[in-house]
């Protein structure tokens, strides 16, 4: 993905906002005075964070589809995913899968079982925590998504 810098920067920005708005689904920003910081009031408005989360999810799905298709058709010939690249990709795939099911749940007339909803809520949260930890590890130890295929 780093081959296309513009897409990569959009990805980073979207990841930042989707994570922030995702945590905004929990009533924590108001409780901990974060929403009191000028410019961050929106973090305590649940419907606003909900719309932002959906908008960012749309971008992430589009970017992921682009990156996957690009890797299969073009980039994959020269570059190979690293272990941390596979791990991050799998975590994003898990987040998209659980997120899509939660989006379906939110439609009128779709009633999921209570256990499934709890599973989806908790797995979505666990996956994002794992993704954040992995990303931090990759940032500190300079682990890239891809390596040259001849290495």
């Amino acid at each position: 993905m780093s081959r296309n810098k513009n897409v990569y920067y959009i990805y980073l920005l979207t990841m930042f906002f989707i994570t922030l708005s995702g945590f905004g689904q929990m009533p924590i920003f108001k409780r901990y005075y974060i929403a009191d910081v000028p410019g961050l009031e929106w973090l305590a408005k649940f419907y606003i964070t909900h719309y932002i989360h959906y908008t960012c999810a749309t971008l992430i799905i589009g970017i992921t589809a682009y990156a996957a298709a690009d890797y299969l058709m073009l980039t994959g010939k020269k570059l190979k995913l690293t272990a941390t690249g596979y791990l991050r990709g799998a975590l994003i795939a898990g987040l998209i899968a659980t997120g899509i099911l939660l989006v379906i749940r939110n439609f009128d007339g779709y009633i999921f079982s209570h256990n499934l909803i709890i599973f989806l809520d908790l797995s979505h949260l666990t996956l994002v925590m794992l993704f954040l930890c992995t990303s931090l590890y990759c940032f500190i130890f300079k682990k890239k998504w891809t390596r040259d295929s001849d290495q």
């Binding site: 009533p27 649940f46 959906y54 990156a67 999921f112």
Partner: protein, 325 residues
């Protein structure tokens, strides 16, 4: 007692709904048709404000009411205040964790005659309830029969359900629930309580307490599509007005009133624990409309990648041609 469905079919429907809910399988839109949810019709013109429904609700649901542990844990930071209704259990002029139904009254003029209209108020049981859909922990649940309820064993009392509810129905009691076993000083603040439309009685084939005891048969219960038809017939017959059919995208509590609801809304007392009667847009609609873009996103992403591939291939061919020359 006026009901639109027989007791036998009510029991059968309840058992079927429980079986599907227990199976753990997501139900498709067709399987969970909102018109098949169970709704109630409240003929406000019949209500005399006797309060029998309020008393019955408190008696029948007494076992579900909170029993908070005191003293309450100190919270850090103390932004969120403790909410304690345990010493005010008898308050019945608003919604509280100990009072899930109350009678709202409005002084209005009908055909030149001064009259007091009384309105039983409780959870509307929306067909697509934001309290359930937006709960971050899955503590609130919607049953197949359209009842939305909050699980007191799972709720952490963050009150998001109250904030996203257009009527701010759920009410919090501090000092009870799961948060006490996790990080009581830093997260959670009790449990949210609201009408569960006597889900346990309905699963046993019984009527909700408020319906069973009403001496005036104010409420009728049945499948939503039948209740909507009845509401329209009643409104036509009495020149009445309907509330709840389309509010918040549709609810399972349909009021029919001899007075327009905007007039009633101005005449009732509203505020904390006292819900309004304003027209309400569908809270979930805007976000759900964004899903069309979400569905197109992977196609757009793949199309962009194909475009990049085509451009790259053409450039490579041109380079190869130049090299051959």
């Amino acid at each position: 007692m006026t009901t639109t469905i027989s007791r036998r079919s009510f029991i059968k429907g309840g058992i079927a709904a429980c079986a599907v809910a227990a199976s753990g399988i997501p139900v498709s839109a067709s399987g969970a048709d909102k018109n098949k949810q169970i709704a109630t019709l409240l003929d406000i013109g019949k209500c005399i404000g006797c309060g029998a429904c309020v008393e019955a609700c408190s008696e029948i649901n007494a076992g579900k009411f909170p029993e908070p542990k005191k003293p309450f844990p100190k919270m850090y930071p103390d932004r969120v205040k403790a909410e304690d209704w345990s010493g005010k259990k008898d308050v019945n002029d608003r919604l509280t964790p100990y009072n899930w139904l109350y009678i709202q009254s409005a002084d209005v003029t009908i055909n030149g005659e001064e009259k007091t209209i009384t309105i039983p108020r409780r959870c509307m049981h929306c067909t697509n309830p934001p309290c359930v859909k937006l709960c971050p922990w899955g503590s609130a649940k919607q049953l197949e029969n359209g009842i939305s309820r909050i699980d007191p064993d799972l709720c952490l009392g963050g009150a998001k359900c109250k904030e996203v509810c257009p009527w701010e129905i759920p009410q919090r009691q501090t000092g009870t629930g799961l948060y006490l076993d996790i990080l009581p000083a830093f997260a959670g603040n009790g449990v949210m309580y609201k009408c569960d439309r006597c889900y346990n009685r309905i699963s046993e084939g019984k009527l909700p307490a408020c319906i069973e005891v009403c001496p005036e048969n104010v409420q009728t219960i049945g499948p939503r599509d039948e209740i909507i038809k009845k509401a329209h017939a009643l409104a036509k017959e009495t020149n009445g007005y309907i509330y709840g059919e389309n509010e918040n995208g549709g609810t399972n509590t349909i009021y029919v009133s001899p007075v327009p609801f905007d007039v009633l809304n101005k005449a009732i007392e509203t505020g904390k624990g006292k819900p309004h009667l304003k027209a309400v847009a569908d809270s979930m609609e805007k976000a759900n409309n964004l899903v069309a873009a979400m569905a197109i996103a992977p196609i757009a992403g793949i199309a962009a990648a194909v475009g990049t591939f085509y451009k790259h291939s053409r450039k490579e061919n041109e380079v190869n041609k130049d090299e051959q020359k």
